[in-house]
Amino acid sequence: MKAVVIKRLKGLIIKETFQIFRDPSSLMIAFLLPTMLLFLYGFGLSLDIQKLKIGIVMEDTGVEVQSLVKSYTNSKYFDVKTSTDRHVFKKQLTSGEINGIIVIPQDFSKSLKKENDTPKIQIITDGSDPNTANFVQNYATGAWSNWQSQKAVTDKQKTQQLISSRPRFWFNPELESRRFLVPGSLGIILSISGTLLTSLVIAREWERGTMEALMSTPVSIFEILAGKIVPYFILGMISAYVLVFVSILLFDLPFKASFLMLSLTCCVFLFSALGLGLFISSIAKNQFVAAQISLFVGLLPAFLLSGFLFEIASMPKPMQIITMLIPARHFVSNMQTLFLTGDVPALLFPNIFKMFLIGLFLFLITAKKTVKRLD
């Protein structure tokens, strides 16, 4: 009995493998698409500000003002334009040509000379891009404080803040966003290729009526599903290793963890991603619907709800619960840790376990739904 099952399974796997090689678009989904996406995410996504374009309105043109403007021009964070009229910049801020405006008011030099008066500057940012607005505010304030304290040193005044802070950024001291975005993007890439591919393949069998043909044979539903999954699982593992290797080489990432942990994480993640694909195809039964569902529950949630870019803790509570159901969320957290921190069992294993549960649930529900029946 056992031998028969294995033989039948082998036959199914071989059939599926042939099918993969016959339509090159399957191989493209497995290899070309992931590599292209890796390039794109690696180069295209960055939260590191290159140069903030700001306009400085000099309503005062005294010597001190010149020195302040110079400290902005010399900073590597700013690309500075100056004008004496704020209306010029108003239009440019609206059209997005500049990211912010700094206004140095008329009475700047005057209040600088007075004993108990502090000159004030105004920083205006473009709230239609809140993250950049934050950075403009922080960096512009930083440059202003620097200038103030330098001036205080030359004027021999009190300079030090009472309580100051010293930051240490672990795992990524240079604060390169790419270092966490690339490992995270692997989660999105693999969930796209894994889920999309399986959902399409099985939906195609339904659509073309070949599923019925398979069902009329003595193979069990379990064997049909396993025969479908195994080749794509192998394909997924290969593409996972390739992606990790390419990201280490191309984006100069560290890899701090063990190969074993990486393999385990990828294995269990693919199990759940393929499970999701299977589940989708069992509801959809045609490729059009399968593709749409994959797009909506595969690609976009992996992008937006996995925590690879947007912080999960900041989301409303119900949304945080939804993210728990998305395998990519657990995978992204593991990948970032594997690349940057190392083997942290207390973080890795719970995530692996959750992905396993999601996968198991999806497989069971699919097997239950796909009883051998023709509807």
Binding site: I163, S165, S314, T337
Partner: protein, 369 residues
């Protein structure tokens, strides 16, 4: 001729509408996504946990820690004994930051000597931790001037007035929703048109269409209009929802935005038809749509700013219709974008749509011959 095209359009709409699942997807999915994603996609930082290692015996550090309790940025504050524990908490991402106070912290502050707080942050999330560090410093600044007042010490005056135009409270959702509008319209239109021809080809009904007395360009128009209708309908439903439910201000011209949606849809549908006429199977068509959707989103400035990209990639974004549409949508919602700036973004989108539509038509005809 018109009656033939209209019949075709009706047939296309029916085939979209007939399948209950596909109907559900067309209507419900975009709405669900609008809600889920606008609430989820935020680079703001709220509700993160932090920890403190407090070796200080005095009360100043206690007072300072209390300041962190009041803010909605921080949820839980853990008290840890030493660095090993801190490493555990950071490694397992229980906390994003650990602040540590040294033994003589309070004594130094009370004497008016500069004191230091060490902050360890999780660089795995460098953006979040930078923002958290910014918040920590803001709280420190406030505390500094309070303490200085309390003990009559001299202090450095806060001397910056900040204003955020177009979005006074700097709410991230005001940025997300106008962008999502573009992304959801794009995915919907692309999925409808991208698969339409490939599906008929795979099912064999395309040949029937070809032997009927319908001209190729009529078929093409018949395939264009359903995506156009679905996309316009989606926009007309979503714009009021954005204003009523998400309270996004709408400052610009409604009709200018609708016109932009129309031009945007034309450019996307051109690409969809192009993919559809190249693809031999539906799977290839879907692959093509994916190959187009992901880059469009990444290169649109929605996820991360275009200015942060390498220059060669910034040039590539000029070919992306979504980039222009998001600029217009955000601008019309938030900034009452002046007419000339809208045009400066609308015209490139229009040019792209001419190229993609004629390209699709040319390719379509060649495939038939």
């Amino acid at each position: 001729m018109f009656s033939k095209i209209i019949t075709l359009i009706i047939k296309e709409l029916q085939s979209l509408w007939r399948d209950k699942k596909s109907r559900g997807i067309l209507i419900i999915m975009p709405l669900v996504q609008l809600f889920v994603f606008s609430l989820a996609a935020t680079l703001e930082v709220k509700n993160v946990n932090i920890a403190v290692i407090n070796n200080d015996r005095g009360s100043i550090s206690q007072d300072l820690i209390e300041k962190f309790r009041g803010s909605n940025t921080f949820q839980k504050i853990y008290y840890l004994k030493n660095y090993n524990e801190a490493a555990d908490y950071i490694n397992t991402q229980k906390v994003i930051a650990v602040m540590s106070f040294q033994q003589n912290f309070s004594r130094k502050v009370l004497k008016g000597e500069p004191a230091e707080v060490q902050v360890i942050l999780d660089g795995r999330k460098s953006n979040t931790s930078q923002i958290v560090y910014g918040y920590i410093n803001r709280i420190l600044d406030g505390f500094n001037s309070e303490t200085a007042d309390k003990f009559n010490m001299s202090k450095i005056e806060n001397s910056v007035i900040t204003r955020t135009w177009f979005n006074p409270n700097n709410e991230y959702i005001w940025f997300t929703v106008p962008g999502l509008l573009g992304i959801l319209i794009l995915t919907l239109a692309l999925v409808i048109t991208g698969l339409s021809i490939a599906r008929e080809r795979e099912l064999g009904t395309f040949d029937q269409l070809l032997v009927s007395p319908i001209q190729p360009f009529e078929i093409l128009i018949g395939k264009t209009v359903p995506g156009l209708i679905a996309g316009m309908a989606e926009a007309i439903i979503m714009i009021p929802l954005a204003v009523l439910i998400f309270k996004i201000p709408f400052t610009g011209s409604f009709w200018l935005l609708i016109l932009s949606v129309f031009v945007f849809l034309l450019s996307v549908i051109g690409i969809g038809l192009f993919i559809s006429s190249i693809a031999k199977t539906q799977q290839q068509a879907i692959l093509g749509s994916f190959m187009f959707t992901s880059p469009s989103i990444v290169l649109s400035g929605f996820a991360t700013p275009i200015e942060n990209m390498p220059v060669w990639l910034q040039h590539l974004t000029l070919l992306n219709p979504l980039r222009y549409f998001i600029t217009i949508s955000k601008g019309i919602f938030l900034k009452d974008l002046p007419f000339d700036v809208v045009m400066a973004n609308l015209i490139p989108m229009f040019l792209i749509s001419i190229v993609t539509l004629t390209g699709a038509a040319a390719f379509f005809r060649r495939r038939l011959e």
